[in-house]
């Protein structure tokens, strides 16, 4: 889709919102000209979203995100918190942000009747801000320990105030910790024929990728009820985003999805650039596209390889990791680090591509597809692999929308949605690629979608190499341009400029923006609310893994335990971005 066509679509949607929904509500525009609608009361917000969901023209059927920010300075009215709902329409590919100002004692209605996927998002808002939602089925803390006191993202909460607990969160099934007599170890575990055996998997389990934890109730080997406990890697990234300057925060984006750090770097810098109204240079744009597709390949490699490894197919792991190392070596030559790249800066890149990068990349894209052929030969027709993955962890089209899952898993469920094509950023509308769509949404199709996406990424990289223009990598904007080192050492004004950028930070004008890219795992979005100055007022990361893991709780019910392992591997949940 051309960008102009998309702008037109957005204008039509905005006009419709303006005509139909903004009679007594305030409609404003954000930095990227996307509509924000202020709802008048807690019940009004719920009714509004119910109407928007069933509006045949707008069709806001996809809940992207629920978050909140602290309005302690009173810029958005007298109420203490503002709850922000991000809606998206899979039909028109437009966005709408709905805001609701509330006091700490007020309880907005829970959106779980409309979108079951709102469950975890609302729990996170409760965990971080203490906002309670009326009618929520299970309003408990989600990232922090149940025994934690205080709400970390409130402005008055000190950044470094820790609380430590002597033991792990006890076994529970969803709503609340089980009473001691209900717990498996005393009553159920030794009773082989009991249909209520409770099983805890994780957080330190090899198939749980380090920090995930699932607790399930088993009948025989069938999982009848499952609950996930997350937050074992919650590092307070969003709080740090409010305490660090925009440049300092780039390093944190590396450590969110560490399998494809470049993608996070670029998505974040893109958001800040859009907020400041900077358009980067042509070369920078194409370089960033190459890097994004390269990181998509290495992310998919790790997902497929580890998924196969979890199911015992070790050869795939050895074969694919060779190519991952090749990509790492290239990335290392670009920025000096293998995983945590920090390759981008606001307005440009830390370094331009090294001289031998493009020849190596050419060699990579030429030889890498042979690896895919090899893996297809090993897995796709393999009887064991098909038995283990087909019809396992199914998510239907409707469920996928309800739980707002994103990325390859959404496409495997049969929904044709790819932000690279539908909301084009950079030059994605100028390159040719196919969006891969499945139909069943089982583990096998997710694997196939990922395999084909790697091939498409190779295709995009080939086109990018052909069209890569010369010219500067840095935008010529004195607000963000980091001066050349040689000038810093020789010229006084440049030294002062350099000092100001690094000691004070770049000054971002007041405004807000939600900007998302199609990451390897799905929609990776950054919601930045700036009130001027070098630090953000609210830095929200919309991580794809969060919604994927929530859907896992539901897709795993009815499967066997080994199927749960296969299912989890296929979702590609990265703990760093799940817990942030």
């Amino acid at each position: 889709m051309e960008q102009s066509e998309f702008v037109q679509r957005q204008a039509i949607a905005t006009a419709r919102i303006h005509d139909k929904y903004s009679e007594d509500r305030q409609l404003i525009m954000d930095a990227m000209n996307e509509p924000i609608l202020w709802s008048t009361s807690a019940t009004d917000a719920f009714n509004l979203m119910k109407q928007l969901q069933s509006d045949e023209l707008l069709n806001f059927d996809y809940l992207t995100d629920i978050t909140a920010y602290d309005n302690v300075d009173g810029q958005d009215g007298p109420k203490r918190f503002v709850v922000v709902y991000q809606l998206f329409s899979t039909k028109t590919q437009t966005r709408l942000r709905i805001k609701l100002a509330i006091d700490p004692m007020e309880t907005p209605e829970s959106l779980t009747p409309l979108w079951p996927g709102a469950n975890w998002l609302e729990r996170e808002v409760y965990d971080m801000f203490g906002v309670k939602f009326k009618g929520h089925p299970n309003l408990r803390r989600i990232l922090m320990d149940e025994r934690f006191t205080g709400f970390p993202l409130r402005k008055e909460y000190p950044l470094k105030q820790r609380e430590q607990f002597p033991d792990n969160v006890p076994l529970h099934l969803g709503s609340h910790p089980l009473a001691k007599e209900e717990r498996s170890d005393e009553k159920y575990l030794h009773d082989f024929y009991n249909p209520n055996v409770l099983l805890n998997i994780g957080p330190a389990h090899p198939a749980m990728h380090g920090t995930l934890r699932i607790m399930c109730r088993l009948n025989g080997e069938t999982i009848e009820d499952a609950a996930c406990e997350i937050g074992y890697l919650h590092r307070g990234m969003e709080k740090l985003g409010e305490n660090k300057t925009y440049h300092q925060w780039i390093v944190y984006t590396d450590r969110m999805n560490y399998c494809s750090a470049l993608n996070n770097n670029i998505a974040y810098c893109m958001t800040v650039e859009n907020l400041m109204g900077i358009s980067i240079t042509e070369r920078c744009m194409w370089v960033r596209m190459i890097l994004m597709e390269l990181s998509r390949i290495i992310d998919h490699i790790i997902c497929v390889a580890i998924n196969a490894l979890d199911m015992g197919a070790m050869t795939v792991f050895w074969l694919m990791y060779y190519w991952r190392e090749e990509a790492y070596t290239m990335i290392e030559s670009l920025c000096g680090m293998r995983l945590t790249t920090t390759a981008t800066r606001v307005g440009g890149m830390a370094y331009d591509l090294p001289e031998d990068f493009i020849p190596r990349l050419k060699k990579f894209v030429k030889e890498f597809p042979s690896c895919l052929v090899e893996i297809h030969g090993l897995l796709t027709g393999n009887r064991i692999w098909i038995d283990r993955t087909k019809n396992v962890g199914k998510l239907s089209k409707e469920d996928a929308l309800k739980f707002s899952i994103t990325g390859p898993c959404l496409r495997a469920s049969g929904i044709d949605l790819d932000l690279r094509r539908d909301r084009p950023y950079y030059a994605y509308h100028q390159v040719k690629f196919d969006v891969v769509v499945g139909s069943h949404g089982d583990v096998f199709e997710r694997y196939l979608v990922r395999m084909e996406e790697m091939r498409q990424s190779v295709r995009i990289i080939e086109q990018c190499i052909q069209r890569l223009p010369g010219g500067p990598i840095w935008v010529d904007d004195p607000r963000v341009r980091i001066p050349e080192k040689i000038d810093v050492y020789t010229k006084m004004e440049v030294l002062i400029h350099h000092f100001k950028i690094f000691m004070e930070g770049i000054n971002v004008p007041p405004g807000e923006l939600y900007n998302a890219v199609e990451g390897p795992n799905g929609e990776l979005g950054f919601y930045i609310l700036s009130k001027g100055g070098p630090k953000a007022w609210r830095m929200r990361v919309k991580a794809p893994s969060f919604m994927l893991f929530q859907s896992f709780e539901h897709s795993v019910v009815g499967d066997k335990i080994p199927d749960a392992i296969a299912n989890l591997g296929s979702l590609n949940i990265i703990a760093g971005e799940l817990d942030r």
Binding site: M144, L159, R162, P203, T211, R235, G236, R255, R324, L339
Partner: protein, 203 residues
């Protein structure tokens, strides 16, 4: 021969053999929570191939492992789990703290939910710097651990500078001078302790 006439050859040979066996067949349990976990995988995989040093038998059960590689940020929520796992490993056991997060909380993650280094809850043998360390770094740590096992080196707890120390270091107070004098005692190669003269920072 010992004084009572019994032979000490066999026991000493046994302990040497045990040491040799221990150091060349470390069975690691990777406790990789974040980025370092990916680098642990890289270290184990084809290019770096940790099995060259006898440490490729990855055991995810602490009861079968003897080397705990902690890689990644340990949060306050995760800390009790790590402590339990360490306690479940049978003696003799060693711990490698991989990466800046596990070693010190990484500095950049100084927030309300992160533990400032795993040595607050479990003892550590080898620290690996880096964020994350490259696979060569982890291999180096394992080679160093083999030396530690070979030479029976004592495990020393890490000494962190206190807030007071840091302040003193900045202001060069009398206390800091005294500490500097004390720490100026160095050990030469022939094993003799030698006192160095006080550094003259006034000039």
């Amino acid at each position: 021969m010992a004084k009572d006439g019994s032979s000490m050859i066999l026991p000493s040979l046994m302990s040497e053999a045990l040491k040799w066996a221990h150091k060349n067949s470390l069975w690691p349990m990777p406790f990789g929570t974040s980025c370092c976990g990916i680098e642990i995988m890289s270290t184990l995989s084809s290019t770096y191939d940790l099995s060259r040093f006898g440490a490729e038998v990855v055991r995810f059960s602490p009861r079968q492992a003897d080397l705990l590689i902690v890689g990644g940020t340990i949060t306050t929520k995760m800390a009790p789990v790590l402590r339990t796992i360490y306690e479940q490993i049978l003696e003799p056991k060693w711990v490698i703290s991989m990466g800046a997060c596990a070693s010190s909380g990484n500095g950049i993650f100084d927030t309300y939910s992160v533990l400032m280094g795993i040595d607050e809850i479990i003892p550590v043998d080898v620290y690996v710097p880096g964020c994350p360390p490259i696979p060569e770094g982890l291999i180096h740590a394992i080679l160093h651990l083999q030396k530690v096992i070979d030479k029976n080196l004592e495990r020393k707890p890490a000494v962190r500078p206190t807030q007071e120390d840091a302040m003193n270091a900045m202001t060069y107070s009398k206390c800091a001078q005294a500490k500097l004098q004390k720490s100026a005692t160095i050990v030469t190669e022939d094993g003799l302790a030698q006192s160095k003269t006080t550094p003259d920072w006034k000039s």
